[in-house]
């Protein structure tokens, strides 16, 4: 269906339109026959789904998801209200979307926590969902939950091939499509979209990181945590030959110092720098800390002020950046800490950077049911 012509913004056909009534949801939809195609067709007719086959969210499967991941919490209590539709995310509705995505039952607390992070005002979810930019929320899983729940922090962490990474990322997207109403057209104006809008989840490879875990570095002390960063697809950088930090990071810096990402006109935007373990080891063996990496990138990820002013009629810069002369090199972040550095992936000489949508800040929260 064409949602672009739908005059009722973010109304999902078939969805209850109650205004603050009972958040309880019942299995109301009767499928004409018991097969995967019937679910796909019934959902498509109602403007639901992501276009791929889904697992039928029967009462038995949803109950199993809740049994494994809801703890003592009320399954129908509000976890978050997700714009632009302002749909109420409860553990039950999230469990429905987790089943649809193919999540193993134990993953529900990770999804609930990711949604809790998304609802933090720093994320600016209304903007993230509604912008013309292709932005997608990246979920990064940290801590003991990785091994316990089967997430892949190693080779191929961005995918494909790991059910936990793939289904958790997909469950978050389905939750945004269904609960938040972030459907292309009515609630998601992204000009082109991007592949990470299907599923976007990795895990931190703390075992092969030379530095403290990412949550510890940002002040979150918990056995397991999730970080949500709203940005572009990953941009790879490749360095096979360097045995010192600077040439490796220079290649990453060259990927970041461009006019095309929103980090250029928005100085509060973050870059996520996801180092492969081998690059991280080379950098750390030279005595560099995470803070050193951030400081170095702050010096190297720059563009001439005149070039930036020619390129952008409007910038969201800190005041001191406006004061720089045209020939000065302007850092693309206002503070070195906006380079968010962590280690993920496996063997090989590849790393990546993930530019930001811009008017959003990443959030890290403990994983809790």
């Amino acid at each position: 269906m064409s949602s672009a012509s739908d005059p009722t913004l973010c109304e999902l056909p078939g969805a209850p339109d109650s205004n603050g009534i009972d958040a309880r949801v019942a299995p109301i939809l009767e499928l004409p026959r018991d097969c995967p195609e019937a679910l796909l067709e019934a959902y498509e007719e109602r403007g639901w789904g992501d276009g791929l086959p889904m697992v039928a969210p029967t009462a038995e499967r949803v109950d199993a998801m809740l049994e494994a991941g809801c703890g003592d919490e009320d399954p129908d209590a509000e976890v978050a209200v997700l714009p632009p539709r302002d749909g109420i995310a409860t553990r039950r509705t999230l469990a429905v979307n987790a089943v649809l995505a193919g999540c193993p039952p134990g993953l529900l607390p990770v999804l609930v926590s990711a949604v809790r992070a998304l609802s933090d005002p720093a994320i600016n979810l209304r903007g993230v969902n509604a912008t013309t930019h292709p932005v997608a929320p990246l979920v990064i899983v940290h801590g003991e939950a990785i091994a316990r729940l089967g997430f892949n922090a190693g080779l191929g962490t961005f995918g494909p091939g790991c059910r936990a990474n793939a289904s958790l990322g997909r469950a978050l997207r389905l939750s945004l499509l269904h609960i938040a109403g972030a459907r292309p057209g009515a609630g998601d104006a992204s000009t082109q979209g991007q592949p990470s809008k299907y599923a976007y989840c990795i895990a931190e490879n703390a075992a092969e990181s030379p530095w403290e875990s990412y949550p510890s570095a940002v002040g979150v002390d918990a056995p397991s945590a999730v970080t949500v960063h709203c940005g572009e697809n990953p941009h790879n950088f490749h360095d096979m030959e360097s045995e010192t930090p600077a040439p490796i990071l220079d290649k990453g810096a060259s990927v970041m110092a461009t006019l095309g990402s929103n980090n250029a006109p928005v100085s509060s935007a973050e870059f996520f720098v996801v180092l492969g373990p081998e690059h991280a080891r080379t950098i750390a063996d030279a005595g560099w800390s995470r803070s050193d990496v951030q400081s170095y990138l702050f010096e190297k990820v720059r563009l001439p002020a005149g070039t930036l002013r020619d390129a952008f009629a409007v910038t969201q810069w800190r005041p001191w950046l406006h004061a720089l002369p045209a020939n000065a090199d302007v850092p693309l972040v206002a503070n070195p800490s906006q380079f968010r550095v962590l280690v993920a992936g496996g063997a090989g000489k590849h790393s990546c950077v993930i530019p930001s949508w811009g008017m959003t800040q990443s959030v890290t929260v403990p994983i809790q049911a």
């Binding site: 999902l12 078939g14 969805a15 209850p16 339109d17 109650s18 205004n19 603050g20 009534i21 009972d22 958040a23 949801v25 019942a26 299995p27 109301i28 939809l29 009767e30 499928l31 004409p32 026959r33 018991d34 679910l39 019934a42 959902y43 109602r46 639901w48 039928a56 969210p57 029967t58 009462a59 949803v62 509000e78 209200v81 539709r85 302002d86 749909g87 109420i88 995310a89 409860t90 509705t93 429905v96 979307n97 089943v99 649809l100 600016n124 209304r126 903007g127 912008t131 013309t132 389905l174 269904h178 609960i179 109403g181 104006a189 000009t191 009629a313 409007v314 969201q316 811009g358 008017m359």
Partner: protein, 95 residues
């Protein structure tokens, strides 16, 4: 054969945080402000519309206000200023 029942995935909608104000009864003589979200061309377009409305229905072109960012809501203080200085507001352009 049993026809399976499945959950709907959307949940329900919460209470709206705000609702649109009632439209003015007449536009003749009403002060029309512009809230520019900073998108390229937004102010130019809306100022042209404002002039057109002035000539067609007699509204009074008023102040041009600048929002902090197109990506964030209008700041409450700015909204209060607009409310005190205008009877209705023209806003809402995208890319």
């Amino acid at each position: 054969m049993t026809k399976p029942l499945v959950y709907e995935p959307t949940g329900v909608v919460g209470e709206a945080a705000a609702s649109l104000a009632r439209a003015p009864a007449q536009l003749a003589g009403a002060r029309l402000a512009i809230l520019d979200n900073g998108k390229p061309g937004a102010a130019t377009l809306m100022q042209a519309i404002s002039r057109e409305l002035g000539s067609r229905v007699g509204s009074v072109p008023g102040a041009l206000f600048q929002k902090g960012s197109a990506a964030t809501p209008c700041e409450p203080e700015l909204a209060r200023r607009i409310e005190s200085e205008a009877d209705w507001v023209l806003t809402g352009t995208a890319d």
